[in-house]
Amino acid sequence: MSTLGAVATLRATETGHAERLTTVRHAHVDERPFVLVPLTLAGEACAPLAALCGTDPGRPTLLTVRQPRNRAERFRFVERLAALLLPHIEECRTSETEPYTVGRGADKEERRRSLRAPQLLVPGGESIAYVRLLGRLTRLRALEGPHAVDPSVPALGKWLTWFADRAEFPGSCLLQAMTRLLSAHWATGQSAAEDSHLAALLSWIDPPDRLTGAEAAREAEDPQRFPPAGPATDVVFDQTLYDLMSRYDEAGDDHGREAVGRQIDRELYGQMLPTWDLMWRGVDLLLRLPEGGHVAERWTYDRRLFTEFAAYLDDDGRPQARRDHAVGAARRLARLEEAMARYDAERAFDDPLVMAEYELTGEAFTGVVVARDEDRFLPGARPLWRPTITVRSDLPVRLTAGKEIKCPARAGQKAEIVEVAPEGDGSTVVVQLNGGFNRARKPPAPPGMLAEVGETVTYTSVDPKSMPFALPAEEDTPWTHGGPPRPYEPTDEDAEEIWE
């Protein structure tokens, strides 16, 4: 957490209400996300127990496994989830497309991407881990042999694995956890551990009338009113469920079994419905925030990846490997770091409240333009037009002469620090502008391109467009690093995991 975040937390303990960490929303939130509230059976590795899911807040679909120890029932659950999610994905895949170009010059290529991509929302980080496990459980199943499953099972598995992979990338919104989305935008007066409780977190942000957020959060911890958001279940509830499942097993006839089965369904529905409602309240709160400037661009990238993965499944369709090979893992790590740096920089450019953290660490400064030299030329055989502005900042500036900087309000403009002089508590900075005047090569600067005296400007050394660190293409992996990785071939062992 940043220092500004810590201050916001302190303020929240004072006011009893959540404090905004951002002025805008930094995530894409779909008008019609696919919300998934899963529950799993305690004590087992990813034994699906139930889920409440769908894209309509008023009409969730209930999926349950009445006897999770039965392998066939578990896969029937997966089939039913596939029957809901795969058509939703398909709808996005066959939505309208738009053209875009990749590469430059001779390598330039025209491609198309879908205008829609599926967005999967789950309650918390643990549910993301569940999606990953469910993907792992299902993507390697065989369609033939003694443990054959329906083709929709591995198909769903590949998609879930893809969603879970993307969820690790900062800024990707294909699979998101509601608690993470909310705590990225609000600070509460409780700990991060407590913020992972969806009901308590929402209580701080949006408490019912008469109560402060702090009071409401305490009340929200009552598992009778707000059962755990899953996928782990409440222990006390588990006892009820255990008794019901025993009765289900021991029922004398189909009729009796069905009656108990319906009771199991009702109980499970009761456990998930409060979380389902909280999820949509969260969606609502997030949608009310204005969207940050780079959000659409990041979602465009998500849509492109979605289109690419759908095409991969059509062409090749082999399931993702059990484990990344060394080269893949290294590349992935590099891409994660790059995504993190870009996401941080973009948020700062979109949001002065996020930029404030960089101001505090001295990687950015804000001040008033006190002078400008529009007619400045650098001497030389061919003098270059390099106007300057002088900015007076209230806080000390730690950036030094020679540093390349950018200004969020004129993101296309390149600038460089010429001089920093302390003045009182703050500093005076002379900034030289190195371009971004709509191709003008001599004064006067096109209107609006050069900050006016008296204007407040922000400059920073962070840059969302900074060049990523380049790794060789996978097929060019040198033999010292094991050579190009071989594509993953599922083995018989993958499909033959024994159950129970």
Partner: protein, 315 residues
């Protein structure tokens, strides 16, 4: 104390644990012995097992501990007897009290060393396990290893015979097939030794209490409150996940505005400041910070000011 903990274990988890342990021990501990062979290169000899959950029908802990000691003495000093101890009972002095410990199994000597084995029902999926669950198991195994070493020392046997690795056994992938890996415990053992030397003796803690103090839960709430209040608590949000007192301690921490209750990141931004109320008073310029806090408070004030300036019209 008016704070009902929602702890305990799900009946599903218990059933699963028992089933898995039974499976590992099924057929004369066939799976356990197979894993020992795989992981420790034990020669393919038959091994015997002694079940120490009872001694001749007696489950008394003192009796079981005594039997464990005598078996250990025999194994460690004698020849290569191939005997695995199932659920041995070990003792360890903790804060002046004798604690009983029960590792799932201790092996016979393999390559001159004895190993602790722990059976857990969390899975190893593609060779990877939940790191928190492993860390917790490792901590428990380290306590067992330490107890074993102390026992050896008391028996005047060489404690270097106890391996500083333990065998973790858990189900493989989504199946029930037991999977085993050796896990190094040196770090945990160091940490544990350090903690044990620092743990105050329970007797010393009791000295701080008035003679009328009680921890008897049948007594009146006020009395209990008073006694517990007299003891120091070091609540952090981590307590919520394991301690039955967490809600009580959290209320206490909230009442005295402890920064630690907000988590380590917030606490770390407030070095030397022992209350969030004080921190807020610094921000409001009501208090002037002391020399030690000045740097941190300056930074906080700058952050607070920036927050006010940059939040625009956001409520």
């Amino acid at each position: 104390m008016g704070y009902e903990p929602r702890f305990g274990q799900s009946p599903f988890a218990i059933a699963r644990e028992q089933a898995f342990e039974a499976l590992v021990k099924w057929g004369g501990y066939a799976e356990l012995i197979r894993l020992l062979r795989d992981q420790l290169a034990v020669p393919v000899d038959e091994a015997g097992v002694t079940d120490l959950t009872e001694v001749g029908g007696d489950t008394n802990p003192a009796r079981r501990a005594a039997e464990t000691r005598s078996l250990l003495a025999r194994l460690a000093s004698g020849n290569d007897e191939r005997l695995i101890l199932d659920r041995p009972l070990l003792t360890l002095e903790v804060a002046g009290q004798t604690a009983y410990l029960e590792p799932q199994a201790v092996t016979h000597r393999v390559g001159g060393k004895f190993y602790v084995a722990e059976i857990r029902s969390f899975p190893a999926i593609d060779g990877q396990t939940n790191p928190t669950a492993v860390a917790q198991t490792a901590k428990q195994a380290a306590v067992s290893v330490l107890a074993l070493r102390r026992t050896f020392e008391q028996l005047e046997l060489d404690p270097a015979q106890i391996a500083h690795e333990f065998l973790l056994i858990c189900p493989k992938d989504f199946s029930n097939r037991p999977y085993g890996r050796l896990i190094d415990l040196r770090q945990e053992l160091d940490a544990l030794r350090f903690q044990l030397t620092r743990l105050r003796r329970a007797d010393d803690l009791a000295l701080a209490l008035p003679p009328s103090a009680t921890l008897d839960t049948d007594r009146e709430e006020g009395e209990l409150d008073f006694s517990v209040g007299a003891l120091d608590a070091f609540y952090t949000p981590g307590c919520l996940s394991f301690c039955e007192m967490a809600r009580y301690c959290r209320d206490e921490a909230t009442a005295c505005a402890s920064p630690a209750r907000l988590g380590s990141t917030v606490r770390n931004t407030l070095p030397g400041v022992d209350s969030t109320r004080t921190a807020l008073a610094y921000l409001g310029d009501i208090h002037a910070p002391g020399l030690t806090e000045a740097a941190a408070v300056d930074r906080l004030r700058a952050a607070d000011r920036l927050r006010q300036l940059r939040r625009g019209d956001v409520a």
